[in-house]
């Protein structure tokens, strides 16, 4: 009897355990502190930041999305949950991401120059090959940007476990999962990933690498087309092939390394959340957004805006003037070129201004509309639910502690052989009290879980249905803007065509004689060979795709150049002087984890370059030879 009681109690304790109260940290590891001001000037028609977030999942992708979400849980452990609950949780991620991404947009828009921050909501969908992907719902990402920021408010996909120590965005808790990327041509060593939530680094780098390959392949076919990468969160859950660039901490200054941001649950000010309205302050600003915006601005300041923007700008310019596009990659001082570029720049600015209005209205729709009010109500309700769960968890802990105390006391008395009858009765009562306490703890544990589950099962699906309406806003905006944006571009194109004078030197397509492979050159050509400025693409002896931005003579790289090699293990770049197609002289080599000055001779690395070596760059007008 005694042994069976102890066993029963042990099993009870094991089941109930010590209940977690689902708390978070008050201030992010991103830090706080004075606002960092932007020092960067973006080229015309280039945003400084585009905020991307998952806004909607298409009907035929819902099941795939929730399965992928459950199958690649951030926070570890196996997920065993009800499919309906998982779908509700997946949808709650979209709701929260929609809402909290606005906090980041507002902060950046307030701190960066007018029209330099854009919003890009994504829809989650199935690609033509059936894989899960996401696409932008607006044209914001058709423009170049120094950085793009992915934001997802994440929750662990198991309703039973998410209230413990798992990542959670519920009530006063927000778990941001983010990446900050630039163009894959601007930070080659990290495939363009500047900072990312630690679990996303591999997928984000893998995706940007793949995008770089796709862009280079298209370039080889004679077209400048900058693809738009899917959301990194979608890449992560859909199992995109990973790359592992070097990473460092948030304060790290290692060159060629991604800043890794740990997963953290941010706890908002509960009293401020309870009073939240559209006119009240941003509750995410102090604990998270302010520090994150500082990180983003620091990264913007440290990024070469010209390299970040050049490819996509050339893509947009090609819509108006193909013969100019490739020339803009490294620029020129030719007066005809400058005259044309001035016109093209103004068109890009017009596009940017137009899309900026769209972003402002999206923000307005989310924050100031009925949907925003409902999300705020939802957060308040969730907070109330969470507080109830916390209360129940505390009660469960008390009950569990009481059960332990009673059980240990009862067993201790009962184990003595010379006990009196009264002592034996007391021991029995204590053991029975322990059974009751343990039963009570188990009940409170069930009740605690039920409170959260009831909420998820009833409220999230109701709001998810209403997300459709929220998406209608974006969809209708897309319809409006897609037609009007194309119309605007068409009219801008007509204006441009009416006002242009002839260019003496134009960009065309010709042969770029790489050492091992006849490649493609887009830029200035003579007699069918690369001769002047532009970009060349070819495959090297290893079969790796190579992009060369700079100058050529008689079909070979000659003069300042910026060469990117998309090697299988990760990309690397060489910037400096080239002659007869190969690097020659002091160059800067960037690869994962390092940026180093090296000395090259006829394409061969001869060792470290002397300190203070001057590196030629095709992007500095003074270095140009074409």
């Amino acid at each position: 009897m005694r042994m069976s009681l102890i066993f029963l109690l042990g099993a009870s304790m094991l089941v109930t355990g010590c209940a977690s109260t689902a708390t978070g940290i008050q201030t992010s590891a991103l830090g706080t502190g004075p606002e960092i001001s932007v020092q960067q000037t973006a080229p015309s028609g280039t945003a400084l930041a585009i905020v991307r977030y998952p806004a909607f999942v298409e009907d035929d992708a819902e099941d795939d999305f929730s399965q992928a979400y459950a199958g690649m849980a951030i926070g570890g452990g196996s997920v065993n949950t009800d499919p309906v609950e998982t779908k509700a949780l997946a949808n709650s991620i979209l709701l929260k991401s929609n809402y909290f991404a606005m906090s980041l947009y507002r902060e950046l828009a307030a701190r960066l120059p007018e029209h330099s921050v854009l919003l890009s909501p994504h829809k989650v969908m199935k690609a033509s090959d059936g894989t899960l992907t996401s696409e932008p719902m607006t044209q914001a990402e058709s423009l170049a940007s120094v950085v793009t920021v992915d934001f997802t408010a994440y929750s662990y996909p198991d309703a039973e476990r998410m209230m413990g120590d798992k990542p959670l965005s519920f009530g006063d808790l927000v778990t941001p999962v983010v990446t900050v990327r630039t163009d894959p041509r601007a930070a080659v060593g990290t495939e363009g990933i500047l900072m990312a939530s630690a679990p996303l680094i591999g997928a984000a780098a893998g995706q940007n690498y793949a995008q770089g390959i796709t862009d280079a392949t298209t370039l080889q076919e004679g077209r400048i087309e900058a693809g738009v990468p899917e959301l990194d969160f979608i890449s992560h859950i859909s199992g995109t092939p990973r790359l592992s660039p070097a990473s460092t901490g948030l304060r790290g200054r290692a060159q060629g390394a991604v800043r890794a941001y740990p997963i953290e649950k941010i706890q908002l000010d509960g009293s401020a959340l309870a009073e939240m309205s559209k006119d009240s302050g941003d509750i995410l600003e102090a604990p998270f957004t302010n520090g994150f915006a500082n990180q983003i601005i620091t990264l913007i300041n440290a990024t070469d805006a010209n390299k970040a923007a050049m490819f996509r700008r050339a893509d947009v310019i090609a819509d108006y003037d193909e013969s100019l596009a490739a020339l803009t990659l490294v620029g020129s001082t030719d007066p005809d070129y400058l005259a044309r570029l001035r016109y093209a720049d103004r068109l890009l600015d017009a596009e940017q201004n137009y899309l900026s209005v769209q972003s402002l209205r999206l923000y307005d729709g989310v924050i100031n509309g009925e949907m925003g009010a409902q999300v705020r109500d939802m957060l308040k309700e969730e907070h109330r639910v969470l507080e109830r769960r916390r209360q129940l968890a505390r009660q469960q802990n008390i009950a569990t502690a009481a059960a332990f105390a009673a059980a240990i006391g009862g067993v201790a008395i009962a184990s003595q052989d010379d006990n009196s009858f009264g002592e034996k009765l007391a021991a029995q009562a204590m053991i029975q009290g322990a059974i009751f306490s343990a039963t009570e703890a188990m009940r409170k544990n069930r009740l605690s879980k039920g409170v959260g589950n009831n909420y998820i099962q009833s409220v999230v699906p109701a709001l998810t249905a209403q997300t459709e309406i929220q998406v209608d806003l974006i969809d209708s905006s897309e319809t409006i803007t897609a037609i009007r944006f194309e119309d605007l571009k068409s009219k801008l194109g007509e204006l441009y065509a009416e006002n242009q004078r002839a260019l003496d030197t134009i960009a065309t397509r010709c042969t770029y004689n790489a050492p091992s492979d006849p490649g493609t050159w887009l830029g200035t050509c003579e007699n069918g060979l690369a001769n002047g400025s532009g970009v060349g693409v070819f495959r090297n002896a290893n079969g790796d795709l190579v992009e060369h931005y700079g100058y050529a003579r008689n079909g070979l790289a000659d003069g300042p150049g910026y060469r990117i090699v998309r090697a299988a293990e990760g990309s690397y770049s060489i910037e400096g002087n080239f002659s007869a197609g190969s690097a020659n002289g002091a160059v800067q080599v960037e690869r994962s984890g390092s940026v180093a000055l090296r000395r090259y001779k006829a394409g061969r690395d001869m060792g470290a370059a002397p300190a203070g070596s001057v590196i030629a760059s095709p992007f500095r007008l003074g270095d140009q030879t074409g």
């Binding site: 005259a339 016109y343 103004r346 068109l347 017009a350 201004n353 137009y354 209005v357 769209q358 209205r361 999206l362 307005d364 729709g365 100031n368 509309g369 009925e370 949907m371 409902q374 109500d377 939802m378 309700e381 639910v385 109830r388 029995q428 009562a429 029975q432 059974i435 009751f436 039963t439 009570e440 009940r443 069930r446 009740l447 039920g450 409170v451 009831n454 909420y455 099962q457 009833s458 409220v459 699906p461 109701a462 709001l463 249905a465 209403q466 309406i469 929220q470 209608d472 806003l473 209708s476 905006s477 409006i480 803007t481 009007r484 119309d487 605007l488 009219k491 801008l492 204006l495 006002n499």
Partner: protein, 262 residues
């Protein structure tokens, strides 16, 4: 007249603008000369005054010291073409635009343009002061700048042609001046282009903003506010039921445990 201009400058020029006017020390004689030269400028409306002051500025653009030397060479060959120092500017400008003089006497055109350059060099601060004060009075006056620049470019092209007819076309200074006219033409065309883009941009942005605003309103009307409240109430009811059930289980457990003690 001198008093009129000085008073006008002092009265119309805001302190902040005056602070940006380069400090140039003119002798009393030079000041008097500037006043005389500006005496013929129209004073019937701010618009006409603005046009003439700005036109005199624009006409003097890109006249390099080398070009001044070249122009002086043609004037020296015919002293009678040199204008008196105090010749009223309005007459000078009208002379350049005069089609008969332009055809018959290119040296006269050179002399007139040289006179304008001289006027600008001597009286530039006065002119700038007038321009600034007029703009402070009515900023919309700047809207006519593009037309003034086009007119000035037309007159400057007359100078370039005159130099060519006088045989100075191959001179480096004359060629640089001709190149500056091309640049000016580009700039004027670009301003026109930008104006058109601005109009298009304003039209589309305004249209987009209105449509998105309407779209937001439509979405707001479509949102079922009660659906969320119903769902929240349902969740609370489910919680209440769970609590009630738990309470019953609690009582049952207590009775069962106490019963086993008995």
């Amino acid at each position: 007249m001198k008093q009129f201009f000085l008073t006008a400058v002092a009265l119309l020029l805001p302190t902040s603008v005056m602070a940006h006017v380069p400090a140039v020390t003119l002798t009393a004689e030079q000041t008097e000369q500037c006043v005389v030269m500006m005496s013929g400028f129209p004073d019937d409306s701010p618009e006409s005054r603005y046009v003439f002051f700005r036109l005199s500025q624009e006409l003097a653009k890109d006249v390099s010291p080398e070009l001044s030397v070249l122009m002086a060479r043609y004037m020296a060959e015919n002293e009678t073409r040199r204008l008196p120092a105090g010749w009223p500017m309005i007459d000078v400008i009208e002379d350049i635009a005069d089609p008969v003089l332009r055809q018959a006497a290119p040296a006269q055109t050179v002399a007139s343009m040289s006179h304008i350059a001289y006027f600008d060099a001597l009286c530039g601060p006065f002119v700038q002061g007038q321009v600034d004060s007029l703009l402070a009075f009515d900023p919309d006056l700047a809207d006519t700048d593009i037309v003034i620049r086009e007119d000035a470019l037309y007159l400057r092209q007359i100078l370039s042609e005159a130099l060519d007819r006088l045989g100075g076309g191959d001179n480096n200074a004359a060629q640089a001046y001709a190149a500056s006219l091309v640049t000016e033409r580009d700039d004027i065309e670009y301003v026109g282009f930008v104006d058109e883009v601005d109009e298009l941009e304003a039209l589309f942005m305004g249209d987009l903003d209105t449509k998105l605003s309407r779209s937001n309103d439509a979405v707001n009307e479509s949102v079922n506010v009660e659906a969320f409240q119903d769902a929240a109430t349902l969740a609370r009811d489910m919680d209440a039921q769970a609590r009630e059930k738990a309470q019953q289980e609690r009582l049952y457990s207590l009775v069962r445990i106490l019963g086993s003690v008995g």
